[in-house]
């Protein structure tokens, strides 16, 4: 039985990872909540974001945190274009078709990256990469602490956008009722694409915050896809608070599971949670039963 001296850092570590998971899941849940589609390319797009941050750093010496000014807007534009150009046209009345098209996009993005960037795993070399901060007697890598704070700030920003801006109001109106929104003159396709863009911009932020303490390779998105889906279903599809809590919970479960059972069985726990929640409580822990 490991003692508290190991458990506390492990929980804190899990929380910092969980905050990033939450950020990835926030984008997914935003897209689900508004467009009612499941974006299977989410992990692949995160990977693309990570490569953007990586190349900005090695080619132009731009710090990953400075890249926050560049990558999220770029990802937003990419998301907007994808939704308007491809995903928005794919459904033909069946939501499985969206899943298929986003799966196709994921395959293309991943293998194109494999072709362009090769399969090597890369990391960025930043001066603060190995600095640590002491919290509750545990030493945590500085980038993870920054990522934790950054993820919470981004969640707050997203909440502000959703509740205080015209765009946010339009998005919420559309999420609730499509016909009504159309009637009051909301440009549905545009707002859908804006929502998708926002969801993908979250990935851009996550990429900037993640890379200093993580790595990138063409498969890096895989690990995130099902985890993000798990968080989203755990928190209730479309629920922001749910995604945040779900992210933190999953981060901790993974860290503790890894501590007690080894890393791969920790992951197993996540998939089992995913299956159990979807089967027994598809509205999520916080959602209402239909």
């Amino acid at each position: 039985m490991p003692d508290m001296a190991i458990i506390v850092p492990s929980v804190l570590n899990g929380l910092t990872t969980g905050a990033l998971y939450a950020l990835v899941a926030l984008g997914l849940t935003l897209i689900y909540g508004v467009l009612h589609i499941i974006n299977f390319a989410h992990g692949a797009l995160l990977m693309l974001g990570l490569y953007a941050v990586y190349y900005l750093n090695v080619q132009f010496g731009i710090d990953p945190y400075v890249a926050l000014l560049i990558v999220p807007p770029g990802m937003f534009a990419l998301g907007y274009a994808l939704q308007r150009g491809i995903i928005g046209r794919a459904s033909h009345g069946r939501d499985e078709n969206i899943l298929l098209v986003t799966l196709g996009l994921a395959i293309v993005i991943e293998n194109l990256s494999l072709f362009l960037f090769k399969s090597d795993t890369r990391i960025v070399d930043v001066p603060y990469g190995f600095q640590v901060v002491e919290i509750f007697g545990a030493f945590l890598p500085l980038p993870k602490v920054v990522a934790f704070a950054g993820a919470l700030i981004t969640a707050a920003l997203l909440w502000l956008i959703m509740s205080k801006t015209d765009l946010g109001r339009a998005i919420r109106a559309l999420a609730k009722e499509r016909k009504g929104a159309q009637l009051v003159g909301i440009d549905v396709e545009h707002v859908f694409a804006m929502s998708f863009g926002l969801g993908i911009a979250c990935l851009g932020v996550a990429a900037c915050l993640l890379l200093p303490s993580y790595y990138v390779n063409p498969q890096v998105g895989h690990g995130f896809v099902l985890i993000a889906f798990t968080i989203v279903v755990l928190g209730g599809m479309g629920s922001f608070v749910g995604a945040l809590l779900g992210g933190l919970i999953i981060g901790v479960v993974e860290a503790l599971g890894g501590l007690f059972f080894g890393e791969s069985l920790g992951q197993l726990g996540i998939f089992l949670i995913f299956i159990l929640v979807l089967v027994f409580r598809p509205t999520g822990l916080l959602g209402h039963k239909v």
């Binding site: 491809i86 899943l99 298929l100 196709g104 293998n111 099902l226």
Partner: protein, 324 residues
């Protein structure tokens, strides 16, 4: 009955292929094409005729493959028995996944994601437990001879595969011409209406996923015997699941010949690209992904949908001419 005759004709022709194709590399190509048709038809039984899109057919495939491999390597069991056991265990996994999902009415995208999660669970397990060889993988000793379900000539493997594939296609034909199939397609097209007419969707879907799992599992058995090596990524990774669904989507879901058409089309495309741009990592998958996007966007009913649309509009045109 005309369709059955056509099916007989096609498979008779397929049977004779090795007599005309003698180059080993071409034989490998036709084997891999027929193998894709088998994977595709297995998926088609559940996804095409039943409308339940699985993203995790690797769960069945990998179970069949690992069963035959583990039974041979760890217990010294004859692979012919392994073939039976592999098919049976794949059916068991299918029944388990079907029961947990269909019992609770999971549909659409949720069903897809849960099947994927099941495949991932199995992948992690096979990566952890010792008897599968864990991450290192498992090697089946080379020992050619029909008694060992291994063949000195590629033609032998081809005919083994041919027999399994014939079984899958006959099953699909039967689905198109039986009460079970009528009920399966009714559930696919409108579950409530089907229930109102006395169809039990749970039972129908269970039968479909078990049949589908059987043929995916047998494809796995074939794969293991043909390549003599497995690891968790090969057996339970997403590549097999994707190939399984891509083939019928390209060829035409819920049609008898769709998976064959799709397999031929996809392999033709990847052969051509290999000729033109060479064997670069990931390129064939880039093309597969692009094809998937294009098919869903512009031809959701696949190649056979395109063909029937073309013939129909041609017919309408001639009828119009007649009226004029």
């Amino acid at each position: 009955m005309r369709q059955l005759a056509l099916l007989g004709l096609v498979f008779a022709a397929l049977f004779t292929l090795p007599f005309f194709v003698e180059s080993e590399s071409w034989r490998t190509t036709i084997i891999m094409t027929l193998y894709a048709a088998l994977l595709g038809q297995a998926w088609n039984i559940l996804g095409g005729y039943g409308g339940q899109f699985s993203f995790g057919h690797a769960a069945f495939f990998g179970t069949g493959a690992y069963t035959v491999a583990v039974l041979q390597v760890q217990l010294g069991l004859n692979p012919w028995l392994g073939l039976v056991a592999g098919g049976a265990l794949a059916v068991g996994v299918a029944a388990f996944i079907g029961f947990t999902t269909f019992r609770y009415g999971l549909r659409g995208s949720y069903f897809a994601l849960v099947t994927l999660a099941f495949a991932e669970v199995l992948r992690i397990l096979s990566n952890t437990v010792p008897f599968t060889g864990a991450g290192v993988g498992i090697l089946i000793p080379l020992d050619p001879g029909a008694a060992n379900l291994q063949f000195a000539s590629k033609a032998g493997f081809y005919w083994l595969l041919w027999a399994i594939t014939l079984g899958a296609f006959l099953t699909a034909w039967w689905i198109g011409h039986s009460r079970f199939g009528a009920r399966l397609m009714a559930v696919r097209d409108n579950e409530d209406a089907a229930r109102a007419l006395g169809v039990d969707p749970f039972r129908v879907k269970m039968r479909a996923i078990m049949l589908s799992g059987l043929f995916s599992g047998l494809a796995g058995v074939f794969y293991a015997q043909f390549f003599l090596y497995l690891d968790p990524g090969i057996a339970y990774g997403p590549a097999v699941s994707v190939e399984s669904l891509l083939v019928p989507i390209v060829g035409g879901m819920g049609t008898l010949f769709g998976p064959l058409l799709g397999a031929v089309a996809l392999h033709a495309v990847s052969e051509v690209t290999r000729e033109v741009i060479g064997d670069l990592p990931g390129i064939s998958l880039v093309i597969y992904g692009t094809i998937l996007v294009i098919m869903v966007l512009f031809a959701p009913r696949g190649l056979s949908g395109l063909v029937s649309r073309l013939t129909r509009s041609a017919r309408r045109k001639t009828e119009g001419d007649r009226h004029a």
